[in-house]
């Protein structure tokens, strides 16, 4: 899709600010023992992360561990990352007032410079992307204070900007299933997405994500994993005692959701992408048995699209159309969730079996 560029006298200023943030990275790297690089295959594209020092490497790369690429793999997008505290490098004044970057974050048109920026959306850092050069920068004030948004879904802003302009639509939803395919569980926070997704994981099913996934519609609809994490409130985590030792921020769970790192204990159940078979709209009614019933495409779109669009800054103008095309192409179901979380998983596994057989014979 060709997006209309916005002619703006501030385009030159955008470029100066980007250059200033990049020079901050160079200064920070110059004060370190050396740049640390990691490359991952996300949404089918090579994404190289370059850290000015080692302080942010672990928290910001563990969620991508299941997508790691061999060293030297080609990169389609480069993200340079630094913080002021560990590098003793202040944010250059020429980056501009951080509040201006925040205000420019919502929504939707791209300046002629091709440079997008966002502060504090969704993570407490400054994201900048030069779309033309496929070069991104991410800065946080202090690597010793990594927020749970960064631990669970790092670089979401940059990845959304870049992927969504390459036919990979970020969606707010969980994707779980089997080798035959996955279902996309959608709905606002508290609708049961994470609980259902983790129930499926613990039941032995495959897992692509609990809150953010990529969807592509070229040919067969596919769901792509981005993060091998899950987010759960403390009271929900008590349902899953087997996950408690994998919580990355246990000391802060009185303040924020717990971030569960699934890479080590569940590596065999993580996949980069799988065929997408259906959209599930859960209903938290804790019935004795789970129940599925077909729901309309517009109901599925209403559960999927607003929460997706409102969480993402500067989504492309055709994002809603992409999601509408998805719900037109695959069936959607309401699912009354059971208090027996294992029964929910079994119900979804049976649905996937039925849909994949129907799809194979079509």
């Amino acid at each position: 899709m060709i997006e209309a560029a916005r002619c703006d006298p501030e385009d030159g200023e955008d470029r100066q600010r980007f250059a200033a943030l990049r020079s901050g990275f160079a200064d920070a790297a110059g004060r370190s023992d050396g740049i640390v690089e990691r490359t991952f295959r996300i949404g089918g594209f090579g994404v190289r992360m370059r850290f000015a020092n080692s302080s942010l490497v672990e928290p910001l790369t563990v969620p991508f561990g299941h997508l790691a690429s061999p060293r030297g793999d080609a990169a389609d997008l480069n993200i340079s990352v630094w913080d002021s505290a560990s590098s003793r490098t202040p944010l250059p004044a020429a980056v501009g007032d951080l509040r201006e970057h925040h205000e420019s974050a919502t929504p939707a048109s791209v300046p002629a410079s091709g440079i997008l920026s966002a502060y504090m959306r969704p993570n407490p850092g400054l994201s900048m992307l030069d779309l033309h050069a496929a070069e991104a920068l991410y800065w946080v004030p202090d690597a010793s204070h990594v927020a749970f948004e960064d631990r669970s879904a790092p670089f979401r802003c940059v990845l959304n900007w870049w992927m969504s302009r390459r036919a990979r639509q970020f969606v707010h939803g969980a994707a779980v299933g089997t080798e035959r395919g996955v279902v996309l569980i959608v709905g606002k926070s508290g609708s049961g997405k994470s609980t259902t997704a983790l129930s499926c994981l613990l039941d032995g099913m495959l897992y692509l994500g609990d809150d953010n996934c990529l969807v592509s519609l070229e040919g067969q609809p596919l769901a792509w994993s981005v993060y091998s994490t899950a987010k759960l409130h403390g009271h929900n985590l008590q349902r899953f005692p087997g996950l408690q030792k994998a919580v990355a921020n246990a000391e802060r769970m009185h303040l924020e959701k717990g971030v569960v790192l699934l890479n080590s204990d569940f590596a065999a159940q993580l996949r980069p992408q799988l065929r997408l078979l259906a959209v599930i709209v859960p209903e938290v009614c804790w019935a004795s048995r789970p129940a599925l019933r077909a729901c309309s495409a517009i109901a599925a779109l209403t559960a999927l699209a607003p929460s997706t669009l409102l969480q993402l800054s500067a989504a492309p103008p055709d994002s809603l159309q992409q999601m509408a095309e998805l719900v037109r192409r695959i069936p959607a179901f309401n699912m009354a969730l059971s208090e027996d979380v294992s029964a929910n998983a079994q119900e979804l596994r049976a649905l996937i079996d039925r849909l994949s057989v129907a799809g194979d014979s079509a």
């Binding site: 939707a108 504090m120 959306r121 969704p122 929460s307 409102l310 159309q321």
Partner: protein, 158 residues
Amino acid sequence: MAERNSLRVNRPSVVDETIDGEALIVNLGTGVYYSIAGTGEVIWRMLAEGLTPAAVASNLHQLFDVAPQDASNAVAVFVDQLIAEELLVSVIDAGPSGATSFSGAGPGDSAPGPFVLPELKRYADMQDLLLLDPVHDVDEKGWPNARSAPLLGTERRD
């Protein structure tokens, strides 16, 4: 050429999509989303095509069993709602007068039913997704002040 006031959809803040005669409209600026079905969806599409409220009322009179004055009144009330919700904005237009004919139901869209007063269903339950990212006061290092900073304060984050 004379200038005139016309209405247009408040893009890019407002995005919309119609499936099977029901429109989902999201105002990305306010965080509120809407559902319109039946007569209201037809009116929305006419307005999105650039028809004036008078032309919309005239087309409704032809499409539905509704008196011209009743159609005009219904459109006026609905348009006021859409403007109040910042889904439509008034612009000064120096071009030729707006379209008067409606392209009608598109492929795959259901045919309009009997005329009922249009209803805009409004949902504000996801506005907090915008409020999750308030414009924080930041200190000179870029770290949000404790007063508004969930990371450093005691506010729970979802």
